[in-house]
Subunit: 315 residues, 2 copies
């Protein structure tokens, strides 16, 4: 079976023809206008899909189109209720709109869940049955894949892994709730804390790190910490503490075999992972008398969402 | 199909022959000695099962034995790793031990997960596809049942719903972690807070409530609150606040259609449920743009665990 897997993002729409063994055959990409109406965006996407299908012939026809959508979707009806970065997407039925224009079956899923499904089926989670993936980017998202199937709750609206508590009445989260993991473990949160440190500590190597990167981003704290800078290390320790507590929550509530980290901050790789593993191993309940939970970085990069979206058609 | 469903508890072992339509045919019960070796306990249980089967003939034979076990189990191997109240249960294979003695297939599951499965298949959750059950007793346990199947993670060790955070570095939990929901929403936690109030507030109606109940238990705060007592209301408000935040976590991470409350504190019924529903409805993310999550009290009582354990054999 070959399916078009499409990852609809805030700046571009990226798709590919994907074979049911996970092979990415041919890719396509188009810019995304966040302020466009959904009719314009998904009408254009349908045209693009039709053109791609016409121009690419394989040993079997394309069987369907899977879409990873950034926003609150209903995977049963194929509707997007709203999307934080696409103001005009309000209660729009993506599935019907594209099916009418391509005459192919369409399935939709939350974009973070799609990426988790891709990693679970064909990425770093291939040999594991119980996977939780967490994306450490502008926000914190994630997906749960048990026995190679998504666990995403009613209408596919679950697995909002950034919006569980770490601290009641804590930092205000973008979602309106106080104390969510996202308010502590997103790149945005780390940047905010880094800015505070920069102001308060003119002596810190953070300033040098920011010059190296060219802007204040989530890498600065890690660069300074690697060089032994006190403030950098404090920022990283605090980040590991909160993220570690968030991961312990996933261990207790879900008991995965593997936790996959993706998104910008996950690029800190082993430096971050070894600290998280060491944090988890010293905290009782999450690990005691339980099989070890391994932590790994995602391996499929930008393809994970496309592959995962295509997987909606693969058994 | 008819299966023996058995709920192994801290004070007694309760079982029944259960038909695959959920019907409870005949029950049996025997006292539990917490300090006995697992050989004694499960040897006795196997004998009891054999005796029951000999004495009860139905239109079809008993197909298997399902067991709900209080403790850290491995449902794949059938082993219990440890159990908080049964000190001699260390790495004992329950499944093999009972299969050898009854010549029937045996499956085991965590007891709280069993109860959730029972309610989901044949209790208050019958018409829902996405159920989370939380047990508010001495501790806080629970189960997750999506599409009528248990979501209990690697080896069946997941769904420790009492051991997610509400407050990082908060109250010390029995599990060794700080800030778990159990340390705020268990009957034990409420009793502890009630005792503090009793000492500090000689004028409070809590004292009268305690006399009425005959001891300091979790009901006292609710009795006083219903009578308009300030301290009683403060205790209930605080309890609802933390439990409400815990339920919001389940909403965001799992997105159930229904949350089922069981255990002693759940007997406060509509008084508690209406306050929780009102708390959730005023907090953004968990409900906004999402289908409403209903909260209900469990209906199967002590049968839920037996029925759920038997369900391990029903498709």
């Amino acid at each position: 079976m070959i399916v078009l897997g499409i990852d609809v993002g805030g700046t571009s729409i990226k798709g590919a023809a994907i074979r049911d063994n996970g092979e990415v055959l041919d890719r396509f990409s188009v810019d995304m206008d966040r302020d466009a109406t959904p009719e314009v965006t998904f009408g254009g996407l349908a045209e693009l899909a039709n053109k791609f299908i016409k121009e690419h012939k394989y040993d079997e026809p394309i069987s369907g189109i899977g879409l990873g959508i950034p926003g609150l979707i209903n995977k049963k009806t194929g509707e997007v209720a709203s999307s934080p970065n696409m103001p005009k997407w309000i209660n729009f039925n993506i599935k019907n709109y594209i099916e009418e224009r391509t005459h192919l079956p369409v399935r939709i899923v939350n974009d973070a869940s799609a990426a988790a499904l891709g990693e679970a089926r064909f990425g770093v989670g291939k040999q594991y049955n119980y996977l939780v993936m967490i994306t450490l980017g502008t926000g914190v998202g994630g997906g749960i894949v048990f026995d190679k199937q998504l666990i995403d709750g009613n209408e596919g609206k679950g697995a909002q892994l950034g919006h569980g508590l770490v601290e009641v009445n804590g930092r205000l989260c973008g979602c309106g709730r106080k104390g969510c993991l996202e308010a502590y473990a997103s790149a945005t949160a780390l940047i905010k804390e880094t800015k505070k440190s920069l102001e308060e500590h003119p002596e810190s190597l953070l300033h040098e790190a920011v010059k190296e990167v060219g802007k204040v981003d989530a890498r600065a704290a890690f660069i300074a910490a690697r060089k032994g800078d006190k403030e950098g290390q404090r920022l990283v320790d605090e980040y590991v503490f909160y993220l570690g507590e968030g991961l312990l929550n996933f261990c207790n509530l879900l008991r995965p075999e593997i936790i996959v980290l993706s998104g910008g901050v996950a690029n800190e790789g082993e430096y971050l992972i070894s600290r998280l593993e060491s944090y988890l191993s010293t905290r009782g309940y999450g690990m005691k008398n339980s099989p070890k939970v391994v932590i790994r970085q995602a391996v499929l990069g930008y393809d994970s969402g496309k592959i995962g979206a295509a997987c909606l058609f693969f058994e």
